[in-house]
């Protein structure tokens, strides 16, 4: 998360759009706020940024396909028994909320250097901008106010954008979401990972 210096400076009109956003009604469309996990105090995110990240995490790690992701659901051909087993495991996957993904992201990002922190916060503001959504072909609503299929479409647009800086922004969010999610032991069973071989290690340490 250290490498998005000047993110918006390089974004096509990004700074101008943000400035303009203060003068148009679209900018008044606010982030849909999410509740924090019990006992969680924010170290890095504002409540709005927390809510944007949580909404992104929900889509990055959604268990069900929308039509946007379904059309790209090019799952690898494997014997039916293997796929059935995998599908059953997938159903057990905890949601991002269940593992407090965004709270963990907040804690992870807290020590970020000032310049990188500023870039990431600008990214989240832009990603949830109704105006930016509209001018880039999306609905005139913040990401957090969109329907799931619209949200998937926005993520897909950023993932494959012709603007390199939007692809960078997508990767910044996707990678940290996946790192926290799949680095959490609560998710291991859902992907068939038995976890570290502690017994083997203990057997030689005695």
């Amino acid at each position: 998360m250290t490498s998005r210096r000047g993110l918006l400076k390089k974004t096509l009109g990004g700074a101008v759009l943000l400035a303009a956003a203060g003068a148009v009604p679209l900018a008044l469309r606010k982030t849909r706020l999410r509740a924090l996990a019990p006992g969680r105090a924010l170290l890095f995110f504002t409540p709005a940024e927390y809510s944007v990240w949580a909404a992104v995490a929900d889509r990055i790690l959604d268990r069900n396909a929308t039509y946007i992701t379904q059309e790209h659901n090019d799952g690898p051909p494997l014997p039916a028994a293997v796929l059935v087993e995998a599908a059953e495991k997938r159903k057990t996957a905890p949601t991002p909320v269940a593992i407090d993904l965004t709270g963990k992201a907040d804690a992870f990002l807290a020590p970020l250097d000032a310049a990188s922190a500023k870039d990431l916060k600008q990214l989240l503001a832009l990603f949830d901008s109704a105006l930016f959504s509209l001018v880039t072909g999306g609905p005139p609503r913040p990401f957090t106010q969109q329907e799931p299929a619209e949200q998937d479409a926005q993520l897909k647009a950023w993932q494959t954008s012709r603007l390199a800086i939007r692809r960078t922004g997508y990767q910044a969010m996707k990678r940290l979401c996946c790192a926290i999610y799949y680095g959490s032991p609560e998710t291991y069973a859902s992907i068939g990972y038995p976890g570290p071989p502690y017994d083997l290690v203990k057997s030689v340490m005695k």
Binding site: S3, N73, G75, L78, Y193, V201
Partner: protein, 506 residues
């Protein structure tokens, strides 16, 4: 002795013979050799001092603790994820143990730059390193299914392939080398050359971030470091000032040029021609369980395509499939991502590493971030893309030959390939920054050695061209990439350079 950050309770001024910045293969070796010759050595290491009991085999613990930028280092545009160690012992604590000597043709190529190295000069150093680190060739029977799939596929195609050599003793083959060996089987610098140096009187300060080198005229005068709290990583308010006779910079190929730049030591192409062995990957799905998260993570390599002409060469190896690094790399989001991840036990992971620096490619550039850390830019061009495409095709062919059900590429919109005729799709899939997953675990160059001060940073003895008591001993001095995993080369060249560093003491 080894001192942790919380043991430094007052500002220190130290006056040893030698100050070494960094404790990876380059710094640890220099510390060992110079201490053995009677020099008083102080090593400053930004990373923490961690031992086997702390290695819990969890990625969420290991990456923030043992990797640069808490596991999040990347090029400025995030197009290449950078795996680089940060601990007492440097990258040797977290690498996957693959140990190769520098190829003879690479050593000879460097002579075009003015290098005085020869295979014969380096041989005794590599001999000693291999003995000290227990480097031995892996038996085929000791490889895991993840590695065997590449081996068997290459054999079926008649391609060169072999097991690798690893620096382990008593390896349990748990598969967790990348998170710190929990049983001390991996012979990292923290278990070998650093203890050797300390036994001869060296001192090592962990949790010490070197901010600059003070210099005047032709001499470097002092190394200035700030002390970090081992638990929080935050500055404690304490500083360490070292005023040695000789300074050795061994921070690795990104941190060493950044330190020179922060210090205003800008003679020569500092930070330029940084080589990464850029990696692209494919995932092969098998009917059988592969369980690539267990077993020696990297024990097979194919150099069949290392000397392509035209086109940049590449070599193929294997990466472990632990959930976090796989999830980061796996393309897509939502249900498709979940579907692929749910098949993790059936996934074989294959990587292709481009041998950069030999085809007119300029590599990357290290400059400074606003916080003073290294910023890395590495632009791709058609030389890279052609190599990446051919690498993906070769990996897919090997796994299809071995009976994989399908191959998934790591493009933003992944391809799923099941037969030879599908491979042409790779030629048409879009490539560009962040349109496919790219990585590096091998950082080289940036303080290249050579005889011409205009085109190199250090001279053939690794002494800085302008500062007579400043040396660089790490992978940053390589004029090109290697075509093999770099750890043993760094050890060997640092061992060779120690005689020149020692001579500078007098």
């Amino acid at each position: 002795m080894i001192f942790k950050g919380n043991q430094v309770t007052q500002d220190l001024v130290l006056k040893p013979d030698v100050c070494i910045v960094g404790s990876g293969p380059g710094g640890s070796m220099a510390a060992s050799r110079l201490s053995a010759q009677g020099a008083k050595v102080v090593v400053l290491e930004e990373g923490g001092y961690h031992q086997k009991d702390e290695f819990d085999m969890q990625e969420a613990t290991a990456f923030p603790r043992l990797y640069q930028d808490r596991g999040n280092r990347a090029t400025a545009d995030l197009s290449i994820a950078v795996l680089q160690g940060r601990a007492v012992g440097g990258g040797t604590v977290v690498n996957w143990t693959t140990s190769y000597r520098t190829p003879d043709d690479v050593i000879n190529r460097w002579r075009d730059e003015g290098s005085i190295l020869t295979p014969a000069l380096l041989k005794p150093h590599f001999d000693e390193v291999e003995q000290r680190l227990g480097i031995q060739k892996v038996d085929y029977d000791d490889t895991n299914a993840n590695n065997r799939s590449l081996y068997d596929g290459c054999k079926k195609l008649g391609w060169q392939v072999d097991t690798t050599r690893r620096n382990v003793r008593g390896c349990l083959r748990t598969g967790y080398c990348g998170m710190g060996c929990p049983v001390d089987a991996k012979q990292s610098a923290a278990l070998t050359y650093l203890p050797d140096a300390i036994a001869k009187g060296a001192d090592l300060y962990a949790d010490c971030r070197v901010t600059r080198i003070d210099w005047n005229g032709k001499r470097a005068q002092a190394v200035i470091g700030v002390v970090l709290d081992p638990a929080s990583g935050q500055y404690t308010g304490r500083t360490i000032r070292v005023e040695p006779k000789v300074i050795v910079v061994s921070g690795g190929a990104l941190n060493s040029p950044a330190l020179l730049l922060r210090s205003g030591i800008r003679q020569g192409p500092v930070g330029e021609k940084t080589w990464l062995h850029p990696v692209v990957a494919v995932g092969a799905m098998y009917k059988s369980r592969i369980e690539g998260f267990y077993g020696a993570p990297q024990s097979v390599a194919s150099h069949h395509f290392a000397h392509r002409d035209p086109g940049a060469g590449f070599f193929m190896e294997v990466a472990p499939t632990h959930p976090m690094i796989t999830g980061i790399a796996m393309p897509g989001f939502g249900a498709p991502l979940r579907s692929r991840m749910a098949l993790l036990p059936h996934l074989a992971s294959c990587i292709s590493l481009m041998i950069d620096g030999f085809h007119g490619d300029q590599g990357g550039t290290v400059s400074l971030r606003p916080d003073g850390g290294p910023r890395l830019d590495y632009p791709f061009n058609e030389v890279h893309y052609e190599c990446f495409r051919e690498g993906m095709k070769a990996m897919a062919r090997a796994h299809l030959a071995n009976g994989a059900e399908s191959i998934t590429t790591f493009h933003a919109t992944p391809l799923v390939l099941t037969k030879e005729s599908d491979l042409a799709q790779i030629d048409h899939a879009p490539l560009g920054p962040n349109l496919f997953a790219a990585f590096t675990a091998h950082q080289m160059g940036g303080c290249r050695m050579g005889s011409d001060p205009k085109t190199s940073v250090v001279n053939p003895q690794l002494r800085h061209h302008s500062l007579e008591n400043l040396f660089v001993a790490d992978g940053s001095v390589f004029p090109t990439s290697l075509g093999v995993n770099p750890m043993e080369s760094i050890y060997g060249i640092s061992s060779w350079a120690a005689q020149h560093i020692h001579a500078a003491l007098s």
